[in-house]
């Protein structure tokens, strides 16, 4: 079994995300392109003014899933490095909740991989958002994982 090591970053943080250090991390002279995605807190949700958000995660599984996304990116695209960071806890309007940076020799791979990363994160990484409004708070409607989970029926009990 081959183990491939990439110098990628996966983090769940409770302090503000610093995009610059993440961009610096993925940037290398053999690349030519970096694409970044910055997701941040909007001032409204479904036309209701938002006060602030709270994010919580199943942290151990979320980190495993983020690592899995990066591995899939390296399989699907010709990229160099990936940084995926999600913030937890209370976030104010305009603050970054998720930041993704991907470096690659060519732009098509950088764009494709960055887009795939955020789309997959939003469907499969166990993180939840609670939206706080003037008149109360609600858990945001979530997204469903992509495919039904296969049943491991054939596996004998060990």
């Amino acid at each position: 079994m081959t183990t491939v090591l990439y110098d990628d970053i996966f983090q769940l943080v409770r302090e503000p995300i610093d995009p610059h250090s993440l961009i610096d991390h993925v940037r290398a002279p053999e690349d030519g392109a970096i694409v970044t995605f910055d997701g941040f807190v909007r001032n409204q949700s479904h036309n209701r003014p938002t006060l602030y958000l709270e994010y919580e995660a199943y942290e151990s599984m979320a980190l495993t899933k983020m690592r899995g996304i990066a591995a899939e990116l390296h399989e699907k695209y010709r990229i160099h490095r990936v940084a995926i960071v999600h913030r937890l806890g209370r976030l104010e309007i305009g603050e970054t909740s998720v930041f993704i940076a991907v470096s690659a020799p060519h732009r098509a791979d950088a764009f494709g991989a960055c887009r795939f990363a955020i789309d997959t994160l939003k469907r499969t990484v166990p993180i939840w958002k609670k939206e706080h409004f003037e008149d109360g708070a609600v858990w945001a409607d979530g997204e469903l994982p992509p495919a039904p989970v296969a049943t491991p029926r054939a596996k004998p009990a060990s």
Binding site: Y58, T64, V98, I118, K122, R123, P126, D141, G142, E143
Partner: protein, 88 residues
């Protein structure tokens, strides 16, 4: 030898709105016989009837991987019940 009945200790986690419904985020539970994830959820639904209505939208994980509802639990498993995710 006849099989010896023994308890299966699992760790159970609830997140998001499920945590609010159940009133706690985590507990250790001793199952008196081999159970599936489905049976574990049914156990909680008996205790907290309003949990049942979330069944169709809930996902389950075992040991940090999405798991099938008919997966049989083993001692030491960590099971989590997950509402649709909304990160990003």
């Amino acid at each position: 030898m006849a099989p010896v009945s023994q308890t299966v200790r699992v760790k159970v986690l609830f997140f998001g709105r499920l945590k609010d419904v159940v009133g706690q985020s985590e507990e250790s539970l001793d199952l008196t016989e081999a159970s599936t994830i489905e049976q574990l959820f049914a156990l909680y639904s008996e205790r907290i009837p309003q949990l049942a209505k979330y069944r169709s939208s809930v996902f389950a994980s075992r040991n940090q991987e999405f798991a099938a509802w008919d997966a049989v639990l083993h001692p030491g498993d960590e099971v989590a019940f997950l509402p649709p995710v909304s990160g990003g």
